[in-house]
């Protein structure tokens, strides 16, 4: 397959040549028809002149050839030739146009040589035949030049794109004209690059964070074990050491399982099992599960039970998401705070589960990123709470797997409202 530039050029030149050929043929045909028509009119004028002279002064017929330049004609009465020009009937290398005027007593034949017409047509033909290849050549040259100019941005883009690798995703294509096709193409390309860059950046941070999170329990296990081996301990003391190491193992296990869940969710390998679920009872049972934690902190955990609402969802996954949100609310709300759960149907028909706490709230700068994996608002404090930094990420995944979204409304110092919004039960 030749290059786009050559294909464009050839198409352009081909179409142009066809048009020129058609045009040339048209001109040739038109001129030819006009010339022959003119010749015919001349012959007829000759006939008329000869007729007039024949009727008025038959003897003057001989002078006609000299005076009027009528070279070939013959006048006959029956089969008798009254007059004929020298060299009648006309002959020569080129044919003649012949016209006959028939009257009752006589008839007149006149002829004119086509040589001039043919000569003119021949010259015109030469000009046209020689002109078409020239025009085609010009078209090819011009087309090639134009296509080159038009395609120049593509070459530039290709050159830039070639230099872009995973390490230099921040590079962007130069956009010459925002509104033309290439500008839009470059824009699309740049958008893709931007998304890729963000994805790579997220992946890189995720890997770094995950290794950090994995390393923390490993370091603890290692130190606890090594220190225990340095000293001679009693049986119960060894049990303590091993128990402490096992605690880190459960933390690692929990971390790996959360990561696995999220990774499988990403790759679509978790198939939700949808069924009609009463959100009121789901919320009730989750609150039931976690209320001991709130009680320990003397928090008031209440449910605003509106009218019963059911939606199609995977109860296991949704429950996991809600548990994570509620656990989070209890964790970050201070002692004696309040946590309110509510189920309601919104005017849009969507269904919402709200988790509202009276905790410290979340500053605006953190709100966009708080659902990211391993993102922590306050590193040290979160770790003390025993979290691995995946709770909200898991919650968001769980809700999105059910076709919903998680909204967050919060102001620093004024509590936070996490809202699970699920599609309308009917739709």
């Amino acid at each position: 397959m030749p290059s786009v530039r050559w294909r464009l050029t050839l198409w352009h030149a081909g179409v142009l040549t066809l048009v020129i050929c058609a045009f040339a043929a048209g001109i040739f045909g038109f001129v030819r028809a006009r010339l022959y028509a003119a010749l015919d009119r001349q012959v007829e004028a000759d006939l008329a002149t000869v007729e007039t002279v024949y009727r008025e002064e038959t003897g003057d017929l001989g002078e006609l050839a000299h005076r009027m330049g009528i070279a070939h004609f013959a006048v006959m009465e029956g089969s008798t030739i009254v007059y004929r020009t020298p060299g009648w009937p006309p002959s020569g290398p080129t044919p003649h146009r012949v016209r006959v005027l028939r009257e009752s007593s006589h008839h007149i034949v006149a002829a004119r040589d086509e040589a001039t017409v043919r000569q003119t047509l021949w010259t015109l033909g030469i000009i046209l035949v020689a002109g078409v290849p020239c025009a085609a050549g010009l078209a090819i040259w011009g087309g090639y030049f134009l296509a080159g100019r038009m395609l120049a941005p593509v070459a530039t883009m290709a050159e830039t794109a070639r230099t872009i690798t995973a390490e230099s995703l921040s590079a962007r294509l130069h956009v010459e004209n925002e509104r033309d096709e290439f500008g839009r193409l470059a824009h699309v390309f740049n958008d893709t690059l931007a998304r890729l860059e963000a994805a790579f950046e997220e992946l890189r941070r995720f890997t770094a964070d995950a290794s950090h999170e994995l390393r923390t329990p490993l370091a603890a296990m290692r130190s606890v074990g090594e220190v225990a081996l340095q000293r001679s301990l009693s049986g119960p003391a060894y049990r303590e050491v091993i128990g402490s190491m096992l605690e880190e193992v459960s933390r690692l296990t929990h971390l790996v399982e959360s990561l696995l869940t999220l990774t499988r969710g990403d790759s679509g390998r978790i198939q939700p099992n949808f069924e009609m679920v009463s959100l009121n009872s789901l919320v009730g049972s989750v609150a039931d599960n976690l209320k001991v934690l709130a009680e320990e902190k003397e928090q008031a955990l209440t449910i605003d039970a509106g009218s019963p609402v059911s939606v199609r969802c995977d109860p296991v996954i949704l429950r996991q998401g809600l548990i994570n949100l509620l656990d989070n609310a209890i964790k970050y709300t201070p002692r004696a705070g309040t946590i309110r759960l509510a189920v309601n149907q919104r005017r849009s028909g969507e269904v919402a589960i709200e988790v509202r706490d009276s905790g410290p709230g979340i500053a605006a700068v953190h709100q966009d990123r708080i659902f990211e994996r391993f993102y922590r608002v306050d590193d040290a404090r979160s770790r003390d709470q025993g979290g691995v930094g995946l709770g909200l990420a898991t919650a968001r995944w769980a809700v999105e797997a059910n076709g919903g979204r998680v909204e967050l409304e919060s102001e620093q110092g004024r509590g936070a409202l996490f809202r699970i919004v699920l599609p309308a039960p009917g739709g």
């Binding site: 096992l246 399982e257 001991v292 934690l293 296991v316 996991q320 548990i323 025993g386």
Partner: protein, 227 residues
């Protein structure tokens, strides 16, 4: 009771042998699929613990062949493959139970006990340990003759512990069997710890002999007497 462990990871095989021997099982370890197949075919075991990813002959293939030959022994698959498809495939190949690595050892023991218990009569409706009694039907719990006021969850937790008396139960087992939360990445450990602490306040705090013990890093156990 004789248990055959087919596991190629040496450390894990050793831990399984020692752990099961502590529970007074007689343990034979095979480290390849062929060896496991040979042993299961020629010796009588009460239970086979089978890894799936084995050198040479894979665990599933061994299992399928054994079942085709009419082997009736209970088989528990122990593997790192944890998707639903893997489980279904394992159970369809003739396994009786399926446990995913990393697993809690108390859970393995509980499942082995459950498999070996199969076909026995229904579980008891009256549970007792020392001076603690539980009537599952009337939901009455007394200790030293005094009735104890337990919440629903506390009752279910105590019942579960009493049904595993003398054996450690892990938090994973409690989350799944008492709280009925099956998704593994769910933060319930705090809930479990708090509930256990409250149960202990009611069952143990007023009394001299402590029955409910925490095994650090592993789980909880109720046992009578000292220790």
């Amino acid at each position: 009771m004789r248990v055959l462990v087919v596991e190629d990871e040496k450390k894990l095989a050793k831990a399984l042998r020692e752990g099961l021997e502590t529970e007074s099982y007689e343990v034979t370890v095979a480290s390849t699929g062929e060896e496991g197949f040979f042993l299961a075919n020629h010796d009588a075991f009460d239970l086979v613990v089978l890894d799936l990813m084995l050198p040479g002959r894979g665990g599933l293939e061994v299992l399928t062949t054994l079942r085709k030959r009419g082997l009736q022994t209970a088989v528990l698959i122990l593997t790192a493959k944890d998707t639903v498809d893997d489980r279904v495939q394992g159970l369809d190949s003739g396994a009786d139970d399926y446990l995913v690595k990393p697993f809690a050892f108390p859970e393995l023991l509980a499942r082995i006990r459950a498999l070996l218990r199969r076909g026995r009569p229904d579980p008891a409706l009256r549970l007792q340990l020392n001076d603690l009694t539980m009537d599952v039907m009337t939901r009455r719990v007394t200790r030293a003759g005094q009735p104890l006021e337990l919440t629903v969850k506390e009752f279910e937790l105590l019942e579960y512990l009493l049904r595993h008396v003398g054996h450690v139960v892990s938090r994973e087992m409690l989350a799944r069997d008492v709280w009925h939360v099956t998704a593994r990445a769910t933060p319930l450990d705090n809930v479990i710890d708090v509930t256990v602490a409250r149960l202990r306040r009611k069952v143990d705090d007023p009394f001299e002999t402590k029955l409910l013990h925490t095994v650090r890093g592993v789980g909880f156990v109720v046992r009578g007497g000292e220790g």
